[in-house]
């Protein structure tokens, strides 16, 4: 009798457990699939919002520079140009500096300083982008206007080839300023990935190079960097993805002019800055839809870059796992 009741309780307990198991397992699966749906939902929602503009302008949307809300003619070329150029400037500055920071943190830094410096650099990543924006507008841009830009105009502006990039009045705000603020923003992302991949290089490799009499720099350039190449490129692409899509910091300092100028000192615009600036004032469906179409472009560009970056970093992780 007693044995029977134990069996009954056991069976009840087991069925309760099975039910719990099913519920919990489905809940986790559902949440995981939701993440997938989120990305799909973003793509579908943006495309449907952008449809009127895309149907109206077709491929001309990509190739026209005109952006005129009054006549309702919209082309994304100026915004695409601004996005690419600011990101290029950012990368040109941020890659060498991040490389330097990663070298300092992995090879030069005394152990006690490693954590504080690493954390400080990563805190740069935690500062919200709007803070970079107002800092850029009120502090950094005036600084550039007073010091860097007049110097560039005077000394570099007269050179052949590159000179054209640095002509015109020093506005302070403009494409160059936006690029430099972006560089500061992506610095922590690139340098922390670089540091992480540098640290995956086996000590044996470095020690054998040192044993052959290589200097620290030679070890970094000829042993560490080739070994960590894929990861470094992945980190750079990740930073590039950030720079391409960054909104608030750029909106403050780019000047918001829908035109393509040869000079980096002139105001311009980027895809994200145009959306942020104009979306709430966009009266008219076509205007609104054109801005969402800009969003679709941004989505495509950043998606490609980020996907490539993640793919590279993933491959590196797999290699690290298989070598353990």
């Amino acid at each position: 009798m007693q044995q029977l009741s134990v069996a009954v309780i056991d069976a009840r307990h087991a069925s309760k457990q099975r039910l719990g198991e099913q519920l919990f397992k489905s809940a986790t699966l559902l949440a995981a699939v939701l993440v997938l749906l989120l990305l799909g939902g973003v793509a579908v929602a943006l495309l449907s919002g952008a449809w009127p503009a895309l149907a109206q302008f077709k491929l001309g949307f990509l190739t026209r520079e005109v952006w005129n809300p009054v006549t309702e003619k919209f082309g994304a070329l100026a915004a695409i140009y601004g996005t690419l150029v600011t990101s290029l400037v950012a990368m040109l500055v941020a890659i060498p500096v991040s490389f330097g920071i990663a070298i300092f943190l992995t090879e030069l830094c005394p152990a006690w300083l490693k954590r504080p410096v690493g954390i400080a650099v990563e805190l740069l990543a935690a500062v919200p982008s709007i803070i970079y924006g107002i800092w850029g507008l009120f502090v950094f841009a005036p600084l550039l206007q007073r010091h860097l830009q007049p110097w560039l105009i005077e000394h570099v502006g007269s050179l052949p080839l590159v000179g054209g990039l640095f002509r015109g009045p020093p506005f302070g705000i403009g494409v160059l300023t936006a690029g430099l603020v972006l560089a500061i923003m992506v610095l922590p992302f690139i340098s922390s990935v670089m540091r992480d991949v540098f640290e995956t290089v086996p000590d044996v490799l470095k020690e054998s190079a040192y044993g052959l009499g290589a200097t620290t720099w030679e070890v970094i350039w000829k042993v560490v960097l080739p070994h960590a190449r894929v990861g470094v490129v992945g980190g750079v692409m990740l930073g590039l993805g950030r720079a391409l899509g960054e909104t608030m910091a750029v909106t403050f300092v780019i000047g918001n002019a829908h035109r393509i100028s040869g000079s980096l000192l002139a105001p311009g615009t980027t895809i994200s800055a145009s959306i942020a600036n104009e979306f709430n004032e966009a009266t008219g469906d076509l205007y609104n839809s054109s801005l969402i179409a800009l969003g679709v472009l941004l989505f495509l560009i950043t998606f490609t870059v980020i996907a490539a970056a993640r793919f590279m970093l993933l491959r590196l992780e797999r290699r690290a796992l298989s070598s353990v």
Partner: protein
């Protein structure tokens, strides 16, 4: 001999430059914090926390904006983190080796670095357009979308750190996986999950772009989730670009508040991580 010298010089030059690069990075952080302190502290007063955002040209505070930010962040986190934790659990436990998990991990990583303004447009399309007006709930929803990938990532990382032996011991006692997860793995990874939560709050509370066309902002005290609501990031954005002295001052003060809050959260998260895994590096 000269070859040895040039190698030494190159080495010296490169290492000096890399130290300089680090100094530049630190100087940027220092410059930003210094500007915030210099401009923000002078505007700190009791008024900031007791009065509403003012019309142009008069004094006021940030009470409604602070309230709005805290409320929307809280709702966003409450919606976002359970989904994130569950999805992370799937990736770390049930679906660790499943094909699907690789795809989800990849998509999650893409979402993690996707521009937040895209999320703003997305929520505008599916919530604001449907409802016909801007609302705090749309803003909270946008923040939830941003919080999800952050929590998925940290949850998966932290659950993977729980020793296999603990899981095996629980399974050997006859526990179903869900019992093992809820009674053994979650408690063991508790501080890790809390870290993920803190990071999500830090990430979400400074976001401006997704709020610009979902909540917008207003000048009043409101508790109506179905209407526009003041919030710190958008107030900072509008006030900093305005020509009015009082508004600019409030923007700086708001910027200081938000940055200090976020830096404290990030540092707290880091301390928690290092308590969890003394030898590892925080992410």
């Amino acid at each position: 001999m000269s070859r040895a010298l040039s190698r030494k010089l190159t080495n010296f030059g490169a290492l000096t430059l890399s130290s300089l690069a680090t100094l530049v990075g630190l100087a940027c952080l220092g410059a930003i914090l210094w500007t915030l302190l210099k401009n923000g502290v002078s505007g700190l007063s009791v008024q900031v926390f007791t009065q509403m955002t003012p019309p142009p040209g008069s004094a006021g505070g940030l009470l409604n904006a602070i309230y709005g930010s805290v409320l929307m962040t809280a709702i966003g986190i409450v919606i976002g983190t359970p989904i994130g934790v569950l999805a992370g659990t799937y990736l770390a436990e049930y679906g660790r080796h499943a094909r699907l998990s690789d795809v989800i991990r990849f998509v999650n990583d893409v979402l993690l670095s996707a521009p937040s303004i895209i999320v703003g447009l997305f929520v505008y399309e599916i919530v604001v357009v449907r409802m016909g007006h801007f609302s705090a709930i749309a803003g909270a929803f946008a923040l939830a979308v941003i919080a999800i990938p952050v929590t998925v990532r940290t949850t998966e990382d932290m659950l993977s750190l729980v020793p296999q032996g603990m899981k095996d011991a629980s399974t050997a006692l006859g526990a179903y996986p869900w019992r093992t997860i809820t009674s053994v793995i979650y408690p063991a990874a508790r501080s890790g999950i809390v870290t993920g939560l803190l990071l999500a709050v830090a990430r979400v509370s400074g976001e401006t772009a997704p709020l610009l066309f979902t909540v917008v902002s207003n000048q009043f005290w409101t508790t109506d989730l179905n209407a526009e609501m003041a919030n710190l990031p958008v107030v900072i954005y509008t006030y900093a670009q305005s020509p009015y002295k009082e508004w600019q001052q409030l923007a700086w003060t708001g910027a200081l508040l938000i940055t200090v809050a976020i830096l404290l959260l990030s540092i707290a998260a880091r301390v928690l991580v290092s308590a969890l895994q003394p030898s590892g590096r925080g992410r």
